[in-house]
Symmetry: D2
Subunit: 127 residues, 4 copies
């Protein structure tokens, strides 16, 4: 996340938001944000949203996600907003929407469904 210049812009019970400002390093040949960046920050936002509903010593593991790309991510800032749809003890089912901000307007450029696992008492496990 650090290499992408990503910032945790909002965090609350069952939701999280991550922003990435435009930089050449996160774009593809047409100076749009790369789809891989959308996937990575949406996955991270889902993980943070899920983590807000877990015990403190838990760690977070992404089981799987699906990403649909809706429009080119052409703009100055990429934003992933995630929320927990279903909070089970072991699994949190999350949705994230990815928007790009261009000249003050927000364009809905991708959407994700993700399954996040809570690993209890394994706070040193890989995320």
């Amino acid at each position: 996340m650090k290499h992408l210049g990503a910032q945790l812009a909002a965090l609350g019970p069952g939701h999280a938001e991550i922003h990435v400002p435009f930089r050449m390093e996160v774009t593809q040949q047409h100076n749009y944000f790369h789809a891989g960046v959308s996937g990575a920050i949406a996955d991270s936002a889902c993980g943070y949203a899920a983590y807000t509903l877990m015990p403190a010593d838990s760690s977070v593991l992404t089981v799987e996600y699906k990403l649909n790309l809706l429009a080119p991510a052409d703009g100055e800032k990429l934003m992933a907003r995630a929320r927990v749809l279903r909070s089970g003890k072991t699994l949190k089912i999350c949705a994230a929407d990815i928007y790009v901000e261009k000249s003050g307007a927000e364009i809905h450029c991708a959407t994700m469904l993700a399954t996040i696992m809570c690993l209890p008492g394994k706070s040193d496990r890989p995320g």
Copy 2:
């Protein structure tokens, strides 16, 4: 892809393979390859595999993909192998498997299903 140090290791009709050698920049806190890297190179490998079955002036657009993470990507090299399952005129349905090489053994660490679109005669469109 360049920022990830990714290399196109194999390419043929309906298949493609991309490798990423270990570097600190592509890992997470435990020095495993970051899941976002698995997603990004598997998506790219699917795009290349699909492109081999398209007319020369086409461009490639990822419509959607699903990624299941199977094991931590702990190793020296990450490899995504993609193949086209169904080659329609407009859509190519692709599968990719992601392996990590560790001490000479290959561990199956993720799997992807992706839908890739062929945009005819728009070779300058974003991928």
Copy 3:
């Protein structure tokens, strides 16, 4: 859909809703609606929603979908509400939420993301 007792309960530009009343034939061993029924009516609702934004002589083809199950579908009526997130010329990206009505309350029991293809001028093709 007829065998499931499914009814098109709402239809408008970019959205559709399908209902299935409780019957023994659509349930599993615990008298909940079978997950396969949730998948089938959500897929159909996405197809109808997409079709509202296509030329009249088009036909609809499901390319793929992903379904997350959120809660047991325990109730008297199963309802799938679909909407088009992105309406391209060839592809419509749709989302559907599935609810079960029990004693007057609605429980969110599943969610779907689907990719629907528009086949122009092939109104006799299989859906």
Copy 4:
């Protein structure tokens, strides 16, 4: 499954196969097998495959699946073959391929990735 006329045709450690013979009740308007049937039997085959690797008193819960449709399911018999890709204690990640048999040949008509959960000691819970 009974209403579909589905039969468990093969079962072994980490794999399962389900068959559905052609009947008018499981087809759509063009006498192809309905996509919903492919989804339902592939999901069930994944559940059975996962169950072979669980303790005897476990029950099986589908967390999510993704289905890609590859070709019309035009034939006399529909077959779903599932295998476990990754067998964790709590989650089994499964893949299934769906074939239709027509005049002795097999056509690959759909593919699925599914996440199946093991519920220990809850053998009376809904699947």
